[in-house]
Symmetry: C2
């Protein structure tokens, strides 16, 4: 789990193949409680985080935003009162890539930093 | 349209009735291009706003967050690269209330301020 957190996103092109189901299942074991969901025919990684109120949820959204800008890879972030749901996938390949698992691991790292 | 922007949310209880379909349709005419959508059996107001990049989208999310805190009424905000989708509804009554239309109008007001 520690290893993924230390990696960085690599550039993808339209010709980069999305991960196949076996690769995805193997990588899911490397991240903590992320699930794969299919929406609009595209596989994504999804995880919900809970907070005490709206302000704390929005603060987390901003931390994820800064992480996304740093890595040049952007999620969908659903911010609500007391919860934030993050979706990672790779737009250009309409599917999942190693980059998404790296970002999932880095997302968990931000949560751990909050809790320490 | 100007009127709603000047109003403020009023407290709701579990006994407050949600708006009926006729009331909702009448109020939809008072806001700009908001649509009603049903998700998980609950009617919500939905509108998507577009931006030049992720940073501008996240900045708008934060403006909506400040508005929500000021009024004590909180939306679901989906932040993505170049777009933000806002959903307003009233959690405690599992439906739509005049407050949601007030917040929709105030959301548009924030956009107008950006464009001025």
């Amino acid at each position: 789990m520690g290893g993924l957190r230390l990696e960085h996103c690599v550039p993808c092109s339209r010709n980069t193949p999305p991960m196949n189901p076996d690769e995805i299942d193997a990588m899911l074991a490397e991240v903590r409680a992320w699930e794969k969901v299919e929406e609009d025919g595209i596989l994504r990684l999804k995880k919900q985080f809970t907070f005490k109120n709206f302000t704390q949820a929005l603060a987390f959204t901003n931390k994820i935003g800064a992480l996304a800008e740093n890595e040049g890879h952007h999620p969908a972030i659903l911010t609500e009162w007391g919860k934030v749901t993050i979706y990672w996938w790779t737009h250009i390949i309409h599917g999942l890539h190693q980059n998404d698992f790296i970002m999932a691991a880095k997302t968990d790292e931000l949560v751990d930093q909050r809790e320490e």
